[in-house]
């Protein structure tokens, strides 16, 4: 009940099971009204820590606001990547998803981890401003709604008041501290949320008959038992056992094509998410940037190695529950393990931390897209650092306002729109950025054409899904949640073709600019310096 944020995003990503969930969330928080002292104390303490850290990391320079003064190390940045990410989709949703979909649900796990490999070896570049803002608002809205529900549960406030309360906290520490504060807080938040997530597992695995040494490996035998119909209550009847077995067989939840399309979409989407990309710039140098992706992925892995355990435990105790059970898997776990109200308060704070850190990261990414990429580059190139910083802060507050308004009155289809964030990122940002880094001829016309195609097709697939056109449905050729397998490669192609066609229209000046950027990205000597003597001069 208190852990809604991740689940809201995830339900979006899922789509298949989205409709009833919003209603469920609100119901649950209305079921238990009133002020809860212990969770409230824990929550307020943590909030004070966040704001205190934000205040202590106060910055005065633009670069400090956006990229944390580039002074964050590989572990810290890795934890921040993980914290940014985990709030986005994973805190409780993945376990519920795996519970419902069995083996097929693992597609989400490899999709969301494999994307980082792509991100690491392909990307280190500019972000497309407009799309960043859209994604930032969409994502942050869902997070605010989740935060609102948590506050409502703990403090007994109504939903509107708690959205404002949450927004106040986010704005306060972000405006004070910018990226440095956000990044430091994300490190704390990572520790809070991963510990809240993992600790109950040890108790649970013992209750299920394991030795309680390493739950992530021990649940294997429980899983194998499940496939043979062995559950907590004994043996399942033949028909029920068959259902459980089906869920854990490869194609019980969807066919091969659907699996590959889903995995591909999530991967390119992950690699294209703006608030993850911006993390590349929060470090001293490229070396640390690379290593922080490694650590970020490892920290995310800790979560993803654990969430299937929850799902298997859920099956073990409640083999045939539906959506309602899946939603509260993570919640019911500490209850089942007998960990008490204080721990649930801690867990709620973890979820809250998850929501806050993502909102903060997103708003910084969105505002920096406007203030840095647009205001300081296009609109007023000769502005001072102070002015750019001011504009950045104004836009942070403005974006925050827009998100509050949307969260107070979420459009009916917000879950679906959030789901599209991955497809949008994968179909628009990913091809444009990859080509900008790896294809010297790519120009703005090509990028624009590719992005228009990607965005248009994603929205079309979405509309088709809502209109229940089979072609865009879960069983169709171009499911809205998995459209990138087809759309993304075409976006690459369009970008390349248009770039070549419009080559003559690129001004000398902008070609020079692009040239400089490419030299920097690939560590080539600047123009005028000694050029490499050609192929193979340095050996392979």
């Amino acid at each position: 009940m208190q852990l809604r944020p991740a689940s809201f995003v995830l339900t979006g990503v899922l789509l298949l099971i989205s409709a009833p969930v919003f209603a469920a969330g609100e119901e649950i928080y209305q079921v238990e009204p009133g002020f809860k002292l212990v969770p409230a104390i824990i929550m307020v303490t943590l909030l004070c820590v966040y704001i205190g850290v934000g205040f202590l990391s106060k910055v005065n320079e633009t670069s400090g606001y956006w990229v944390a003064g580039r002074g964050i190390g590989k572990y810290g940045n890795g934890a921040a990547i993980a914290s940014d990410w985990m709030s986005a989709a994973s805190f409780m949703g993945v376990a519920g998803l795996l519970y419902l979909k069995g083996w097929f649900g693992l597609g989400y796990i490899i999709g969301w981890t494999g994307g980082y490999v792509l991100l690491l070896c392909l990307l280190a570049a500019q972000i497309a401003a407009a799309v960043t803002v859209i994604i930032a608002i969409t994502y942050a809205t869902a997070q605010f709604k989740g935060i609102g529900l948590i506050c409502a549960w703990i403090f007994g406030m109504n939903y509107t008041a708690s959205v404002f309360f949450a927004a106040g906290v986010v704005c306060a520490y972000m405006l004070i501290s910018g990226m440095a504060g956000v990044t430091r807080n994300q490190q704390i938040q990572y520790v809070v949320l991963i510990s809240a997530f993992i600790i109950p597992l040890w108790v649970l695995i013992r209750k299920a008959g394991g030795t309680g040494i390493l739950p992530q490996l021990e649940y294997g035998s429980i899983l194998s038992g499940l496939m043979q119909g062995k559950v907590a209550a004994g043996h399942l009847a033949a028909a029920e056992a068959e259902k459980v077995r089906e869920a854990y067989l490869p194609w019980g939840g969807g066919n091969f094509y659907q699996f590959i399309a889903l995995v591909f979409t999530l991967m390119v989407g992950t690699a294209g998410l703006p608030h993850i990309m911006i993390r590349f710039y929060t470090v001293k140098n490229e070396d640390v940037a690379r290593k922080s992706v490694l650590w970020g992925l490892f920290f995310i892995g800790l979560l993803y190695w654990s969430s299937p355990v929850y799902a298997a435990m859920g099956r073990f105790w409640n083999p045939l529950g539906g959506q309602a059970v899946a939603d509260v898997i993570i919640l019911s776990a500490p209850e089942k393990a007998g960990l008490g109200i204080a721990f649930i308060g801690y867990l709620a704070s973890g979820a809250m931390a998850a929501g806050l850190s993502t909102v903060a990261g997103l708003l910084v990414a969105g505002a920096s897209a406007i203030a840095h990429d647009w205001y300081a580059t296009v609109f007023k190139p000769d502005c001072t650092d102070r002015q750019a910083l001011l504009v950045g802060r104004i836009f942070t507050a403005l974006l925050c306002g827009i998100v509050i308004l949307t969260a107070l009155n979420p459009p009916a289809l917000i879950a679906q729109i959030v789901a599209m964030a991955f497809a949008i990122a994968g179909n628009t940002i990913f091809p444009a950025v990859v080509l900008a880094v790896w294809y010297g001829k790519a120009n703005k016309y090509g990028a624009l054409a590719g992005m228009v195609w990607g965005l248009g097709m994603t929205l079309l697939a979405m509309a088709g899904w809502i209109a229940k056109i089979p072609f865009f449905g879960a069983e169709g050729l171009l499911p809205a949640t998995s459209s990138a397998l087809i759309v993304c490669p075409l976006a690459f192609l369009i970008n390349i073709v248009v770039s070549n066609l419009t080559q003559s229209r690129v001004s000398d000046e902008s070609a020079d600019k692009m040239d400089n950027i490419l030299r920097k990205l690939h560590n080539l000597p600047a123009k005028g310096e000694e050029k490499p003597a050609g192929e193979g001069a340095f050996g392979q």
């Binding site: 490999v117 070896c121 035998s221 496939m227 001829k441 000398d508 123009k527 192929e535």
Partner: protein, 101 residues
């Protein structure tokens, strides 16, 4: 435009030495990434084609590793551990490249 030398970057036709090495590293990683991400599901698919129910039951789903059904372990933990190792490999290759320079 003729008097200005511009960098030519093309992933599939890398020109300058440093870029060529970059592409070699990225290409290696992407190859392994694709093998993990799409190779393993394909393997499970191919192995399970004999199952008349279409659910993909095969030697891979019957085999056990650490108590897990093999097909489950491969995707749930094999792939993700593989990704972390790939990131590590990338960092190592990159450091090596930097040392050579």
């Amino acid at each position: 435009m003729t008097n200005k030398e511009r960098v030519q970057v093309n992933f599939f036709r890398p020109s300058a030495g440093p870029i060529k090495r970059e592409v070699t590293i990225a290409g290696t990683i992407i190859l392994f990434w694709a093998l993990l991400s799409f190779g393993i599901p394909t393997l499970i698919y191919l192995a399970g084609r004999g199952d008349p129910s279409g659910l993909g039951e095969s030697i891979l789903t019957r085999a056990r590793l650490f108590g897990f059904p093999l097909h489950y372990w491969l995707v749930a933990q094999g792939c993700t551990i593989g990704y972390v190792l790939l990131c590590k490999l990338y960092c190592v290759l990159w450091d090596k490249r930097a040392a050579k320079r």
